[in-house]
Amino acid sequence: MAPVLDPEGAHLGSLRRLAGFDGRSVLEVGCGDGRLTAGLAEEAASILAFDADADAVAAARARLAAERAAHVSFRLGSARQIEIPRTQFDIVVFSWSL
């Protein structure tokens, strides 16, 4: 068995207590293996999620349910260098990524 981070969903619960994601445009900085992305995609209108780790981005793509994939985009890149549009997102999420 591989280690499992936060199966209780404490991180996602914290984000949901602080913001409503329903219908929002979300930018996720350092998405890792998509642990939070999948949960946010249940409510958000669109998500742009990225990470500098190619294996993590591949895992994030793989874990996303097919019916939610249409409104989630993944990119490979670092927070310092990735190209992002200005004034496009309602919510930016940093998860252990600063």
């Binding site: 936060d6 619960g13 914290s14 984000l15 004034t87 930016v92 999420v93 600063l98």
Partner: protein
Amino acid sequence: MEREDVVHVLRRFRDALTAGGLMLDLQVIRPNPVVEVAGVDVCEIDGSPLFATADPAAAEIDAMIASGLLVEEARDDHDVRKHFASGAELLDDFEDSRRDVPPEWIPRLLELETRCVVRERCRTRRLRQRG
């Protein structure tokens, strides 16, 4: 992330927000992480390598708040758990992490063949773009 990178990244992503948009920043906070076995705390982990990056990031956010670029509206403190099949699996995982198990606990964890958990205290801050 280096301090100048934190400043650069925060400003870039603040600019990515629509007017009045939100930043949610999740960071590890004190106290130190703890190893639990069967719901009982068995040892504390040195979290200082983690705090060495989390503290400057929090300080830069505080500076942006002080300069009027962000407004902190709320905080949510919570525990996050990582589950391991055994003490050996935990130690193996920590080889690549910025956390240190006290040396005196390594032999005991290596002998631990039951499930164990690392519990960390985290804080999410809700920050609204301003200006």
